[in-house]
Amino acid sequence: MSKNSRLLLAALAVVVIAGLIVIPMNFNRYGLYILSQWAVMTIAAMGLNLTLGYAGQVSLAQGAFVGIGAYGAAILTSHGWPLIAALGLVIVICFIVGWLLGYPALRVQHHYLAFVTLAFSTLAFLVFRNESWMTNGIYGISNIPRPEIFGFPTRKPLPFYYLCLGSLALVTLAMWWLIRSPWGRAFMALRENPIRAQSLGIDTRRYTLMAFAIGSVLGGIAGVLYAPLTQYVDPVPFNLQLSLDLLMMVIVGGAGFMLGPFLGAMIAVLLPEWLRVAEGYYLMLYALAVIALLIYSPTGILGILDRYLSSRRTQAASALRAAAQSKLEAAQ
């Protein structure tokens, strides 16, 4: 990337971030709720993007980890724990469960792996629904308190939105660092060619488990924010559909692209809201839009951009080559 375009990109990022901070200030309660939900779902989708997009392991269990996080936060904060302590415990639990869920990935791949994780999703849903002593069953847990961050109460929608946005920023930075670290390269090596990765001395076993564990932790973090956002947790939002939706977000946005989950979550959370003018037809239109996009670009929205950029690079390169060629011929 040239220096100019990098500057342009940085300027664009600043504008978008400033927009995300300033514009929602005069949003109503519902608008802020939807935007907060977008931030939360983006965190969960980033986790899945690590597992699927970077490490190449299909998972249909991300929704279950959002559920574990949400129930963890709901149960612990209703018992008087601070949210940050609940977050710590949820991170530990999701890391361990995610690590264990990675074990089938050592044996089976692709669609088989998808179905193992799908089964895990369904089992987690059954536990949320049936273990009433812990989760209050189908009645759910209500009146979940919103936390105080450094003494600032986040009971109002706007401060809570900023909490979600801030968390999203932190997670994004951590992810950005992770992808550029040797670990990130190991994950990508795992996706591109596991056997070659192994012969280069990468412990594929450990990195496969790690990809699941870290991805699951991000799902758990999203859940910890989800509980105080809705202030009510019941089993229904954490059924298999959430895992399918998260997978759709990752693919539609562009799997393996840093910004893919942001766009994917935007399509999945915001597009249905914008389509509400179409009333009962909005989910149908949404489904059609997703199908049309995938037919046009199976690598998602960022895939279109990627193709455009690389074709421009090829053009630029061939122009240079042509110029060099004619110079060479003139010299001869």
């Binding site: 089976v108 089964a119 089992l123 059954l126 056997i195 539609v252 149908m284 199908i291």
Partner: protein, 291 residues
């Protein structure tokens, strides 16, 4: 004991329907690497097509005929031409995601254009009980079982005994060689999509009288069919049949003997165990690992 027999017969009947759906599912996988996440919705839709034709005043038999024809066109031809063909060369995952979106689309369309309520659906097999060895057995279960077995026997005969079936199998197993020896591979793949459409229409016809026609009924059915296909063997028609019957019986027994709350967990646990210890399925062949 009589209870146990009833449970097994009823389980076999629903299992036979799962088997039909699972066979279609494995056929699509074998010939074109399509994982159809909308398979359950494919079963839900034909019943509504038939109900729509009946609303226009057509008699039941005509509605069934038109419904099967329409679903062959929509779920067979249109599905392949409009969705699978353009996406197939981009790999398994985008296509699978697209079928997930298709599932949402079909569900919402039915909810919007027909009804969000469950509607009753006439049975093609007689309802009532029949006495066998002094024991009352549901006639509907037996009828469903008989129709499903006929369909499966017909299909396996087609696949194993006719030249057309051999061509289809060749196209599925090794498209390149099949093409060299003159098998019209493209036409064979299209044929499997049409067969899948007929199978789901038949399953729809059999299961809707039992569980009513509802826009959301495809979710459970689709999942049962996936599990059946994997437990039995993803790359074998007979595996899918065995898996379907097994899941039907296990599901019914689990509801009676384990707990109604965790009945849905039993097939899942079975699925996880099979994938971990015998990933090729109970009757399947191991798939070669590609590097």
């Amino acid at each position: 004991m009589s209870n146990l027999l009833d449970l097994i017969v009823a389980g076999l009947a629903t299992g036979a329907i799962y088997a039909l759906v699972a066979v279609g599912f494995t056929l699509l996988w074998q010939t074109s690497q399509t994982i159809n996440f909308a398979q359950g919705e494919f079963v839900m839709l034909p019943a509504f097509l038939m109900l729509a034709v009946m609303h226009l005043g057509a008699p039941f038999w005509l509605a069934v005929l038109v419904g099967v024809l329409l679903s062959t066109l929509l779920l067979g031809l249109a599905f392949k031409m409009l969705l699978v063909d353009p996406m197939l060369r981009h790999g398994v995952l985008p296509l699978a995601i697209a079928t997930m979106a298709l599932a949402i689309g079909i569900k919402e369309a039915v909810k919007q254009f027909f009804s969000a309520e469950a509607s009753p659906f006439p049975s093609i097999v007689p309802v009532g009980d029949v006495s066998i060895l002094g024991r009352a057995i549901s006639l509907q279960s037996l009828g469903v079982l008989a129709v499903a077995i006929l369909a499966v026997v017909g299909l396996t005969t087609l696949l194993n005994r006719t030249s057309l079936g051999h061509q289809m199998q060749a196209a599925a197993q090794n498209p390149t060689v099949a093409r060299i020896i003159g098998v019209p591979v493209e036409r064979m793949i299209l044929l499997t999509f049409l067969i899948n459409a007929v199978l789901v229409a038949l399953a729809s016809l059999l299961i809707t009288p039992i569980y009513l026609a509802k826009f959301s009924s495809g979710e459970v059915l689709g999942q049962a069919a996936f599990i059946a296909a994997i437990v039995g063997g993803f790359n074998q028609v007979r595996g899918a049949i065995a898996g379907g019957l097994l899941i039907g019986v296990v599901d019914n027994l689990a509801a009676a003997y384990v707990s109604t709350q965790y009945r849905a967990a039993v097939p899942m646990v079975l699925l996880i165990l099979v994938i971990l210890f015998r990933p090729q399925g109970l009757l399947g062949r191991a798939e070669e690992r590609t590097v």
